[in-house]
């Protein structure tokens, strides 16, 4: 009787084995963040299928490693991620769980973009967790400097050519179209941001360091007392005094943080809290890498005071 039952289980399993989902001819690419997906789409065009795991409205630090992501990674030819420990809490579990030899560390289908990026806020000297949720190897939000768009696109291009050399020509022309468009857009963005060069702002978390460096904004402090650590009342008082003294009237924060603390400071200082998308899809109108910066810059320029 027991043997009989076991046989039935095996039969059922056999049926499931035989069933395989429709396969895709081109490369199947999985990215962690939506910015990487957007750029991969530009470079890969119709030759690849791209899915990002994290939505633009989500905080890529705190994603749960859902088994449905394991299924997506199992079918992937290429995994592209931002690195610098942005995805450290969940990506290792997915890579291991996916049981896909292609996307493991050191394999051809494994691409950590951060290795090509010139990183900000690399911690020199001692690092420990009393410093908060620190990223010792550099701030991972490099997608917010549009100049890094070139490096991201180039890295993805190199990898696609390595995996699919036959279509090198098409990837090349996609890449040059993307680069030209990005170059043109960057000069537009620079022009729009020029009057605000040197403007002082407060941010909630260290999401905006690359953006600020590129466009000449000065981030004076963060609402968080340390990375990942919500403010103490003492820190809030300090921040209020600082903002009044330095006449800072704008706090920016990414969409995935609750604005309560920033609002408390804003109430006391008369500053404005501006919630911005930090990834493609963070706002409905931030549809791709270009409209992400359009959205951020339009919102910023209408809320910043031009520096005299």
């Amino acid at each position: 009787m027991k043997i009989y039952k076991f046989n039935i289980t095996l039969l059922v399993l056999l049926f499931v084995f035989v069933y395989t989902p429709l396969s895709w001819a081109g490369l199947n690419v999985i990215t962690t963040t939506s910015d990487l997906a957007s750029i991969a789409k530009e470079v890969g065009g119709s030759l690849i299928k791209v899915n990002s795991l994290v939505k633009g409205i989500q905080d890529a630090h705190f994603i749960q490693p859902k088994p449905s992501y394991i299924v997506k990674m199992n079918r992937a030819d290429l995994l592209i991620y931002q690195g610098l420990e942005l995805e450290v809490g969940w990506l290792p579990v997915l890579i291991e769980g996916s049981r896909n030899p292609e996307v493991r560390l050191g394999q051809r289908g494994h691409l950590d973009i951060s290795t090509n990026i010139s990183r900000l806020e690399v911690v020199q000297g001692t690092v420990d967790r009393s410093m908060g949720d620190i990223h010792p190897f550099g701030n991972p939000h490099y997608n917010l400097d549009p100049e890094n768009g070139f490096i991201i696109a180039q890295s993805i291009f190199n990898k696609l050519v390595e995996l699919d050399p036959e279509n090198k020509g098409e990837y090349e022309s996609n890449l040059s179209v993307f680069k030209q468009k990005l170059k043109k857009k960057i000069s537009q963005w620079e022009k729009k941001m020029e009057p605000f060069r040197g403007a002082k702002i407060i941010t909630y978390h260290r999401v905006w360091s690359y953006f600020a460096k590129k466009f000449g904004l000065t981030i004076v402090n963060t609402v968080e007392v340390k990375p990942g650590v919500p403010p103490t009342t003492k820190h809030l008082a300090h921040l209020t005094a600082l903002m009044k003294h330095e006449k800072i009237d704008l706090i920016i924060q990414a969409v995935f943080y609750e604005p309560d603390f920033a609002n408390m400071v804003a109430d006391k200082t008369g500053a404005k809290v501006l919630t911005l998308p930090a990834f493609v899809g963070g706002y409905p109108e931030a549809q791709d890498y270009f409209s992400l910066f359009d959205t951020i810059i339009d919102n910023l320029t209408s809320n910043l005071q031009p520096s005299s």
Binding site: Q58, Q64, P67, N74, R119, P136
Partner: protein, 375 residues
């Protein structure tokens, strides 16, 4: 001499005017390369934060559990686990690394109390082919949901009464080999087969090392929508036991488990709100029947706060050892960071002997390599 200076000025002055934008681009690129190499010394390859070291040494982490207990009954009974007092519930040391291109190892040493080190898990894993992984060693076998958790991962401070009674304090943690296969379905579906030594004293207590127990588990997870998942699993274990009177030489144990878990997290507010509802049935069928279940609800209501409730029932429906008991639990957790938690739990135990009320206070902390959490 003056002529020379003028000449210099002319040469440099004019040359700077003829710099093309290409040369600027080239300089920019070279500066970027320099900035990059400047940071290379601190490259992320020395990190053990991924849970695996790339600089040859294993990633190390240490977890500690400090526990304070109040119990209103039976504090002089040394066989009881939950007695009034303070203790080090467990210290766990973990090392993980790739052994070579083929194998990966995960070693967990546990010290319960302050003496007696125990190999809680020693796992070597290999990916045999796409979708199929193999493991050998000592591990928490894939019987249900709760049994696969280490002490510091328990949703409550203690085990639900059904797990404690049927599988024991240590759970079904055995030496064996196993394979798990990710099925090529659109949803997550995994089949696991494990062969283990039937050493568990509650269920097998096998007479000979060759008295193996065999386990199969099938679990599935569906995304009901972007924010909600449902997981459904079934487990079955079969093996010889040596628990009945000696005249009854060839006794068999069958363990049956079923589990259902719902999880919800609002997209974009993952760090602030969560609901988990998990229910599990466990039955043991040998010369006597033991069965029971638990259901638990976990709710994260703010960035660092959780409130939870659990009910667990357990029964031996007939025979000489006939028993019936249940346990109600409530818990409040404060989670200052990913690396520490303070939890306060209340238990009410309904049982044949006098009912018990327990209050538990636990500090749970981890240092070292970043724990990547399972789902």
């Amino acid at each position: 001499m003056k002529v020379f200076y003028i000449l210099l000025i002319i040469i440099f002055g004019s040359s700077s005017n003829v710099w093309s934008s290409n040369e600027f681009e080239d300089l920019k690129r070279r500066i970027r390369v320099l900035e990059k190499t400047k940071n290379q010394n601190n490259s992320s390859s020395s990190s053990t934060a991924t849970g695996l070291s790339n600089r040859l040494n294993p990633a190390l982490s240490v977890n500690g559990l400090f526990l304070g207990t109040y119990n209103d009954k039976g504090n002089y009974d040394s066989s009881k686990v939950a007695r009034t007092g303070m203790k080090i519930q467990e210290v766990e040391i973990r090392a993980a690394a790739y052994i070579d291109t083929f194998l990966r190892a995960d070693i967990l040493l546990a010290i319960e109390g302050t003496s007696n080190i125990e190999v809680e898990a020693a796992i070597v894993e290999a990916l045999l082919s796409k979708n199929l992984s193999f493991r050998a060693g000592k591990f928490f076998t894939a019987f249900g949901k709760h049994n696969q958790l280490h002490t510091h991962e328990y949703p409550f401070i203690d085990l639900p009464v059904v797990s404690e009674e049927i599988l024991g304090e240590e759970g079904l943690n055995e030496i064996g080999v196993g394979a798990s296969y990710l099925l090529p379905t659109d949803w997550f579906s995994e089949f696991t087969f494990q062969v283990m030594e039937g050493a568990n004293t509650n269920q097998f207590n096998a007479r000979a090392g060759s008295d193996f127990a065999y386990l199969i588990r099938q679990n599935n997870l569906w995304d009901l929508d972007d924010e909600t998942t449902m997981e459904l699993g079934g487990s079955y274990v079969f093996g010889k036991n040596n628990l009945a009177p000696s005249s009854n030489f060839d006794n068999k144990t069958q363990l049956v488990g079923a589990d259902l878990t719902f999880k919800w997290q609002p997209a974009g507010r993952e760090a602030y709100k969560t609901w988990v509802w998990q229910t599990e049935f466990i039955g043991s069928f040998r010369e006597q029947t033991q069965e029971g279940w638990y259901t638990l609800l976990q709710h994260q209501f703010a960035n660092r706060w959780w409130i939870q409730g659990r009910y667990s029932g357990y029964t031996i429906p007939n025979g000489a050892n006939k028993e019936d008991k249940n346990q109600w639990s409530a818990l409040l957790a404060w989670v200052p960071s990913e690396f520490s938690t303070v939890r306060l739990q209340y238990n009410h135990l309904n049982q044949a002997t006098a009912d018990e009320n327990q209050v538990l206070l636990q500090l749970n902390f981890t240092m070292g390599s970043h724990p990547a959490h399972k789902y």
